[in-house]
């Protein structure tokens, strides 16, 4: 989709090779706000990654509600400018105010020019420490957490997001004789397109404040709550059941 394309492009420019996760649909974008809880759907394949799914719960829903709301740190805005020359995209530039360009583009074309402003919102490491010292797990445990505990699913909390600063209209334009082109048209941007070559257009409007990408930390829920910013593969949200307990069909056993 056009939205997913934009999200991927932004992640590629701002966090290439990092652990920011692009949001795949505009519809689910609001579910990935800071402090929201998400689960990672297991993948049945070695060839496609597990997907994150929001569960309509925030960390505030599982903690005792008697502390002031912690603030978020703002970063950016980052200005992403994408230039298209009518055949293939030729350059992408990312500029951070006060720091100049952080990634350079090469050529400039007058056929199509695109622009997008995003900023980051993140929970500082000290905020986590303070939050977890002052607030404790709500009892009884939330029903959704109970279900996830039964399934042994890991639960993650969103710690950072990239959001659009202004509404942006994204148009994917296809030329009969050429490659697919993407252009963004926001309040601050110019858009120029050739005439007479277009055969198909798809447009989506991304509202301001839409989340394009997010970063997560693992929650470990025992007697208290821990937020693990850099989890290792062995760490789990819920303690495994005692030895000897076997849920219906440990799946591997059937195959064996």
């Amino acid at each position: 989709s056009a939205f997913e394309w934009v999200a991927r492009r932004v992640v590629q420019e701002l966090d290439h090779g990092g652990d920011l996760i692009p949001v795949t649909s505009l519809q689910s974008s609001t579910g990935f706000k800071p402090y929201c809880l998400v689960v990672r759907k297991p993948s049945g394949s070695w060839f496609w990654k597990p997907r994150y799914k929001h569960i309509s719960l925030s960390i505030k829903d599982i903690l005792e509600p008697d502390a002031p709301e912690p603030v978020l740190q703002h970063g950016g805005p980052f200005h992403i400018h994408d230039t298209v020359d009518g055949q293939l995209r030729t350059s992408v530039e990312v500029a951070v105010p006060g720091q100049g360009k952080v990634a350079g583009g090469a050529s400039v074309s007058d056929s199509s020019s695109t622009s997008l402003n995003v900023f980051s919102l993140s929970v500082g490491p000290n905020t986590w420490q303070a939050l977890l010292q002052e607030r404790h797990l709500r009892q009884p445990e939330h029903r959704i957490l109970q279900q996830l505990r039964c399934r042994g699913d890991n639960v993650y909390v969103v710690t950072e997001v990239l959001q659009t600063q202004k509404e942006v209209e994204v148009t994917r334009t296809y030329r009969r004789e050429g490659s697919g082109l993407v252009s963004l048209a926001g309040a601050m941007c110019l858009q120029g397109e050739g005439e007479g070559h277009l055969s198909q257009k798809k447009t989506v409007t991304i509202p301001s404040g839409s989340i394009l990408a997010f970063r997560v930390a693992l929650l470990v829920i025992q007697s208290d709550l821990e937020v693990i910013l850099f989890p290792d593969k062995k760490q789990k949200t819920f303690q495994p059941p005692p030895t000897g307990y076997r849920p219906f069909s440990s799946k591997g056993s059937w195959w064996m």
Partner: protein, 221 residues
């Protein structure tokens, strides 16, 4: 390892976990898909038809598809499954015993297929339904397989030309093959037919290949 990967791995080499030997290339993907495909091939013809009909209806309703995947995953980890309405219910009913326990031999391959389908977009779902109806799955499968084979190593960008013999059903912005690949995030060119491979498209193209292969297996007469 109770994940699906563990299941497939164990089954793949007759009980020997395969985790150490998976290669992240087209041969590895094809081998993984063949394991699941063989399981589907053992199913009764009428059951295959019922499953395919249910999945076709599910592909028109993304929420149903997700609900079905959710229910099957829950059933695989914690026992009896609750009945579902609509297309999800129709597929689920093919996979449970009267006690509402899942028949694992049936449920595991279907969960794998649903995982692949749920990685794809709504537009791709619609095109898969059309491909089932028009019996063009194998043609699309051949094209996507060829692309995955040629684009190795997947971690690097590359530009690939597409062989004309795989484009007999047409190649252009409105053709199904174009849209199926374009929705994966690949940049395409019409004349001459080219695909610009992006490493980020790997997950989606692999899921598309698996979906085409397994729907094709279910469609076998």
């Amino acid at each position: 390892d109770l994940s699906m990967k563990g299941c497939i791995g164990n089954f793949w080499t007759d009980g020997v976990p395969v985790n150490g030997t998976v290669t992240e290339d087209f041969q590895g993907l094809r081998a993984e898909v063949e394991v699941v495909s063989k399981e589907l091939a053992l199913m009764d013809g009428q059951l295959c038809r019922l499953l395919l009909e249910g999945l076709e209806r599910g592909l028109r309703d993304q929420l149903a598809l997700q609900a079905l995947e959710e229910a099957l995953e829950q059933g695989l980890s914690s026992g009896p499954v609750e009945p579902l309405d609509g297309p999800a219910g129709a597929v689920l009913d093919c996979l449970v015993l009267p006690s509402r326990m899942l028949v694992l031999e049936l449920a595991v391959p279907v969960v794998y297929l649903l995982g692949a389908l749920n990685t794809l977009s709504k537009a791709q779902h619609q095109l898969l339904v059309e491909a089932v109806e028009l019996k063009t799955l194998s043609r699309q499968l051949e094209l996507v397989g060829s692309l995955l084979e040629k684009s190795a190593p997947w971690q690097k960008c590359s530009t690939l030309s597409l062989p004309p013999e795989l484009l007999k059903s047409g190649w252009g912005v409105e053709t199904p093959a174009w849209v199926l690949l374009e929705e994966c995030g690949l940049e395409l060119r019409e004349d001459p037919p080219h695909v610009h491979w992006e490493p980020q498209a790997q997950d989606c193209v692999c899921a598309l290949y698996a979906s085409l292969a397994l729907l094709s297996e279910l469609s076998q007469e």
